[in-house]
Symmetry: D2
Subunit: 344 residues, 4 copies
């Protein structure tokens, strides 16, 4: 049994962490902090947790996070990089669900996130927490940079075909769609129900913060700098990411893409390769840590189409964080995160 703390638990990744950790047989949640909600019952903010979580938000200044075995940062960008070092020195494992430690190139990080990085040394040490790529490194990590929601869906979709070296990596295209919960639980006009429902739009086409994260990950897989056009869209749904990925085959001989994907993910507990010719839907992973993938080659052209879906709050955030915690502490990887998706 380990003691877990959560910093900044009033957002959607916070309530999801609580949902998973409350059921985890090896975890005891000892603290969840929030400056604004200190003293308030967690279940008062999130009525879904009534009778499941008997805990109050505590003031960050008073919470003894250094006594935890693991601390999750479910905070806005820029917080974890200020607090992680002290915790790590105290022997606490840290999992950051924000972006502070995802980008290795500090100048690049500072450009996209618009602030100086408070702790470049830790950024260098942090392990990017995509288990399907970095499982062994995660096992030995002190600090895990939990991947972003778009980057998880896109990287898992492209991974096998780029590893295999079959496509032109200078012109990858990721047309990605996200539910509105990806924007977080904060007051804003553009994500109001009356604005975002019954509507569809692209955003951030000139540049989105997840672009350098995805490019970094794909470049490592490719062993060379990749070129990526990344277009995110807002879908009038709550949860779910759907990545539609396009790549041009360079390998001229017959390639069995279906077999390639099935083999690559045969031992992955949370990646499900669908039968040939099918289309995953976001609700098929709603509330679960699964990524479902289908691979197509329409009209036998040289353009491959990969469809990859996740729940942005689970495999794209809190679920993957718990998966990483399981790896860090040697638990079975699916422990506490094997909930069945909710349909309908």
């Amino acid at each position: 049994m380990i003691k877990a703390g959560i910093v900044g638990g009033t957002g959607y990744t916070g309530v999801e962490l609580l949902r998973f950790l409350a059921c985890h047989p090896e975890v005891c949640i000892t603290a969840i902090t929030s400056r604004s909600e200190a003293g308030i019952d967690v279940a008062e903010l999130f009525s879904s947790l009534r009778s499941f979580i008997d805990l109050k938000f505590s003031d960050p200044a008073e919470a003894r996070l250094d006594l935890c075995d693991v601390v999750f940062f479910a905070t806005p960008n820029g917080i974890a990089m200020q607090q992680a070092e002290a915790l790590i020195k105290a022997g606490v494992k840290v999992i950051d669900l924000a972006a502070d430690f995802r980008i290795e190139n500090i100048a690049e990080w500072e450009k996209w996130y618009g602030m100086p990085h408070a702790c470049p040394e830790l950024a260098a040490e942090a392990v990017y927490g995509l288990p399907e790529v970095n499982r062994d490194k995660i096992k030995r990590a002190r600090l895990v940079a939990n991947p972003g929601c778009y980057p998880t869906a896109v990287q898992l979709g492209f991974l096998p075909i780029i590893e295999a070296g079959f496509v032109d990596t200078d012109h990858l295209i990721a047309d990605v769609k996200s539910g509105v919960s990806g924007a977080g639980r904060k007051a804003a006009v553009h994500t109001l129900h009356a604005e975002a429902s019954d509507n569809f739009k692209a955003y951030g086409v000139p540049g989105h913060r997840h672009l350098p994260e995805i490019t970094q990950g794909l470049s490592k897989i490719a062993g060379a700098q990749v070129g990526l056009t990344f277009v995110p869209h807002l879908v009038p749904m709550v949860r779910g990411i759907h990545a539609t990925l396009y790549a041009r085959l360079t390998e001229k001989k017959a390639v069995d893409l279906q077999e390639l994907y099935e083999k690559r993910y045969a031992n992955e507990p949370f990646v499900d390769v669908l039968p040939a010719g099918t289309h995953p839907e976001t609700r098929s992973v709603r509330g679960s840590n699964i990524c479902r993938i289908a691979v197509h080659r329409p009209q036998d052209s040289d353009t491959v189409v990969i469809l990859s879906v996740t729940d942005n709050l689970v495999k794209g955030a809190a679920g993957q964080a718990v998966q990483n915690m399981n790896i860090l502490f040697g638990y079975p990887e699916t422990l506490g995160v094997s909930q069945i998706p909710l349909i309908p």
Copy 2:
């Protein structure tokens, strides 16, 4: 470990039964039947179940349901009444999620359901499966009539105040709102997304099949025939029932309604009385077997307003069925049905 069978598992109550039973530590699902889908993998129809359920739909004629310990009917009305008797004779416990055995007055049943009843004797024996009212009878039952979705939310909402004898039971009002999944997973125009979303309407005001079921239940509680105006509405959401209940106080002395409700449900694992002055929301029970209730007396008038929410597919159908199964077989009542609601 008991063997469970499901008849007619291609609808929403079917997939929900599978979601709960697949996780239930004391249940092995041995058969799920469907005439139209026989031979098809369950997970092909419900992609959410891929890797969780490894079972094919079997032809009703070939499934050995008589070898089960319990059989759930997740069928349209009129099926269970034809097959339950043989199963019961074979020693199988039967839980009917349809309406065949809910109404004691056979003539009334035949009027509302438009067909002759195939098995009136069993209807007389069946126990109405609302544990908060009939727990002891359920324990000894051979056949459980699982309550309808509206009737569950309405009866649990009215129960304490009618038991206490505080209100005029001749003029009860139940203004009830349901998500679209209540209409089932069958092709129809009026429940298309393009028809039902961004829209709200009442329906069935002249008469709805759940009216006699609710009236029967409330009358038993009241010990006399009640008068009820019941108005169902269709909400553009997938899951959830919200009952707004109105009753006029007859008890003139000061009544602590909050205390009344809290006491009545103090030991009920699936009924949660909210703090005074609050409003339950349907998503606070999404995917869970909980009914949350708040009781109000606006402007200190003599009209009491009770708000009661459930997930229509869980406490209003499959979850309550598993709860009833647990009672029938002596398992802890929450076993396998204690999932945390999904927010957001």
Copy 3:
């Protein structure tokens, strides 16, 4: 051709006023003010208006509203009461879409709106702009208090039966449901898509600001103080109000409710009484100024059920305001507000 100004046009009632006035053959919009958006093209904020409205938001201090023939206040509560007097003195007709002039009892207004009233004399003069009740007074008004969205749907629903004196007005019940646009276009957590969609809840049961407005209106119709239980709910849709109204018949002789309603509204251009036995749906009035009503008496009990739907932004706000403007200036009442509802 008259000159119209709009104060505070950045909300949903603002964009709706623009939609109607831009098509109105007798209106020229000369100014729309917004402190925060001054200098910005209206069509930049509301992309729907590109190519239809060629106007910039102007600073309230610089707009010459006194040169308008009519000024609409589409502002938060508390603004119009500070500016209306000067405009009226300048000969401008004023239509306030907020609540400043809706309640005659100033103490009551101050209690519900939580501020001192800046202009009680004008509140005494203002005409409550429900044409179906006050058409003649509106014709001669200088200041029109445009009714709230809930009050419009509830009053039109109850009007004929209360006028006829057929019901117990001490115990009226209005169970009312509104789309999320009723909360306005302002950043807030509880109306985020990720919070409000796929969810349903009541709110304000202990007390809602529209209660005194409705009670005042119904009491005038009844000729005596009425008792009303008013329960608003939030529906996961953008537009639309559905009022489900309950009243107990006191008139024992046979009453033809259908005929009563049809006669009362026979000459009303914007009230449509549906055939007996039917149920109006909110989308049937989407984008239009129509109120559709059906009247039921289920199971021949003495409880009457009236269903009344409007578009909260149109008949419940901007459309009714233009209807009032037409009355004020002697135009045909439907001029510029006869758009066909949008289905699907």
Copy 4:
């Protein structure tokens, strides 16, 4: 004033045709046919039309469509090709909103639509009704093949850059998203609210009927056979299409794409090129005949991204049909189809 008939008016394109034609100052609707609904008031099926349309569905056998000036086919595929010839011989102009006359290559049509073509000669004569490409031919046509919804959004998006010869037309990509109304108003499981809402998925990746239509149109523009990867998706909204288009620049010298698009569409009443750097949203054209387009070149790479939105039922169907009718009869192109989009 011309006489218009509608064949098969019980679907969404039917109700939209009625919405536009009912307001059109030069049109009198003389007949609307439906085998299943003959004798029923149009307004009984579409409550939005109550008080706007006073017409009954008539039996196709009895309607005197030959007396019309123009007949719209809002029927499933395969109907118009059987009836158009007789009408045209009677001097009636025919506008087919289905796909019968969209594909010139009859063998190709028969392959994708799975039936023999009943009238290849007419298919050869028919004019493809995309006014921005074929305006002059439409003026002289007897039979207009109204474009599909996806094809309209995709062709208008690609048109300027392909005409200019700036891109590699062998590897075009159209990642397109549609609201659920695109599937029509017919009973089906996959478009139920409980299935399609809060969900997102691709479909038809191996092949979709709009692929040959788009390819034919783009090839004509390019003057050579183009290669297109076309991936449609289903969005949980009612109306709207969003096409995200990708093309690789071949022109190495500096190209001002913004200017190219603005110039090409400068005189088009229904195509709106947005300012550089912006993103159109589907609701900005809801209920209107406008197509809004933005063009991007992210990170100055050689991949161009074009965003194109329409209302699938208007510019993608009924609105464009009325636009074509206006062209056929010499009316101003916007007559009766200049409604302002509905936001929110």
